[in-house]
Amino acid sequence: MKKRDHQDSCSSSYGGDSGGPSSYGKAKVVWEDELDASGGMDELLAVLGYKVRSSDMADVALKLEQLEMVMGQEDGASLSQLQNDTVHYNPSDLSAWVQTMLSEVNAPLTDPAQSLQTDLDFSSLQNHVNAESNQTQLRFSDDSEYDLSAIPGLAAYPPRSPPPPPMQQPEPPRNKRLKTAIGSSSTNPNLPSSSSSSSTVIAAPESTRPVVLVDSQEAGVRLVHTLMACAEAVQQENLKLAEALVKHVGLLALSQAGAMRKVATCFAEALARRIYKIRPQDPLEATYNDILQMHFYETCPYLKFAHFTANQAILEAIGTTNRVHVIDFSLKQGMQWPALMQALALRPGGPPAFRLTGIGPPQPDNTDALQQVGWKLAQLAETIGVKFEFRGYVASSLADLDPAMLDLGSPEMETISVNSVFELHRLLACPGAIEKVLGCIKAMKPKIVTIVEQEASHNGPVFLDRFTESLHYYSSLFDSLEGSGLSPDSEDMMMSEVYLGRQICDVVACEGPDRLERHETLAQWRSRMGSSGFDPVHLGSNAFKQASMLLALFSGGDGYRVEENNGCLMLGWHTRPLIATSAWQLAPTVGNQ
């Protein structure tokens, strides 16, 4: 209940975001008016004698590229056939002409929508989108004579006939049998059938084998280009083109292997969600989210690094105090605290009394997950001889917190520290929330505040920039997952991929208050914390040494890099920093100490 009210207030004050597309659409209408004066044709090409609609330019370019590639292959049969047998109608209509050329060469492919690895019902959604686009005049209304959904190579793609028998995932080996471009000795058994079928005028898709004559290495580059083109199309609200491209991405992704394939499929799914407006994702139960994060915790060192470095900062800050009170914004399963408690137990002079306040989201079935975590931690504390107290607070958003509720002792009595791992960026979805929370933290008068956040710029206003940034970021992450040496079928690996896939969907597909994964760079957080009245605390060399040691233990440890950045520690994969830990204290104000 509370959450909905909060979201309502957020969305009403967030009118700026929804106003965006409509104002953009108005600009589109003006542009289309200008176009209609010339009949929608591109003027420059018209001078040369070719008639291409400006709206189809990207698509024509794609097809020309394909044609060029096909022609470049030493397949004499198709070339000669192109020269001699094909009848070209109306070559000045560039897109249709290229279309027929391609259709002569390639056998018809199956409906790519079925080979896309999602469970979305594309056909029904497509009708929905078509209906929608007919209503609004602000969208790109594509009323060209050919069906844009005919991906190059699909040619005679009878829209009314039932799709050929489904050939989804059981057939990936076939897709992998791609003919490499030049001089490869591997024979493609599909090839004879393609040349034989291309000599006939194609009327119906008789052969259901996908013959995509594409070099798998080049396919990787084309995959990235297609992803970028799709994102650009989405940015320009050219949904028909985007839809065609995203299906193409799905196809190309199957030709890749390993991390590239997973990244591509995740992003393709996210783009599809954005295009078909299936957002936000089904909200996961908090427990399921915790499980996903646990698997991620186990496969790669990012979370461990985060916990260990934050703990080190806390240890150094509390010094010789007798009472420690930690407020954890990201309790989850409490995996950070056993290591801290162990370090406290071995502290010279004996362990202090340790109080932990954990903040967590509400559980759907009213189980008190926080209390369970607290109980486990209490058991551990008793085993190692640390006085321990736990309190859990349920809050659907950190902005709902009130320091008075937390029963804090005064700074003379207990040393307070605040810890947040991957939680603060969610507050950026609601304007004003982050300032409120930072003010709340200041009111708690902590000795140290430890913050761990993703080092990425996924909160820019322009969709295309966000898309590019996140593509690079998650590619690095998936690369490091692959380097971890786990078998790709293991549960840990798959769950980690789901965990990251959900983040990708959030960054790409959602907007407004639904988009929670608003990662920002360390520099941005620094300026935000600085302007809110916090001073940076340098993480010492102990933290650095410990982090380096920890990373050396991971297989693939060579790929990980710990860097020190003005007192903050960053963990990255090869040259790309991925997460950053920073520590803060209250800036001394006049009249304070």
Binding site: A339, L380, M549
Partner: protein, 153 residues
């Protein structure tokens, strides 16, 4: 007469008669040898599986523990978490092999005490995971699986 012959045939020193010497010898072995020694006979097993020997093994590389944290305060914690033998098998063993494999590594500025601390932290995390029974009864919980994975040399 026969007694003289028997006395001549009996070995001068039978190690099992001198458990203290045996203990001193066992304390100097490495982990794998200790495990092998535990298979010899009951006495050896009793001595080789005693936690004090494994404590010696774990703390061996620490020339002098920092005065701030004497070894005596570590012992109760480790015992409560499962003992030094378990600590060695789960954490220290892998740490030593991994870190030894990379002699010129950049982390090598850390001391053996830091390494032990890291092992202890990981050990504690493992104990905590086991508490929840999330993975039931598996011999090694997942949080330490990364240690058991083969490292690309």
């Amino acid at each position: 007469m026969t007694r003289d012959k028997e006395e001549k045939r009996r070995p001068v020193l039978f190690i099992n008669d001198h458990a203290d010497i045996l203990l001193e010898i066992l304390k100097r072995l490495d982990g794998r040898s200790l495990c092998t020694a535990a298979c010899v006979c009951r006495l050896w097993r009793a001595l080789a599986t005693a936690d004090s020997v494994w404590e010696h093994l774990c703390l061996r590389r620490i020339v002098s523990p920092p005065p701030s944290s004497p070894g005596s305060s570590v012992r109760p914690v480790v015992s409560a978490l499962g003992g030094y033998r378990r600590l060695y098998m789960l954490c220290v063993r892998h740490l030593l092999t991994r870190l030894d494999r990379d002699p010129g590594g950049r982390w090598r500025t850390s001391s053996a005490w830091d390494e032990l601390q890291l092992s202890l932290s990981l050990f504690c995390v493992d104990y905590y995971e086991r508490l929840g029974g999330r993975f039931g009864d598996t011999a090694a919980t997942s949080s330490l699986m990364f240690l058991c994975k083969p490292v690309n040399v």
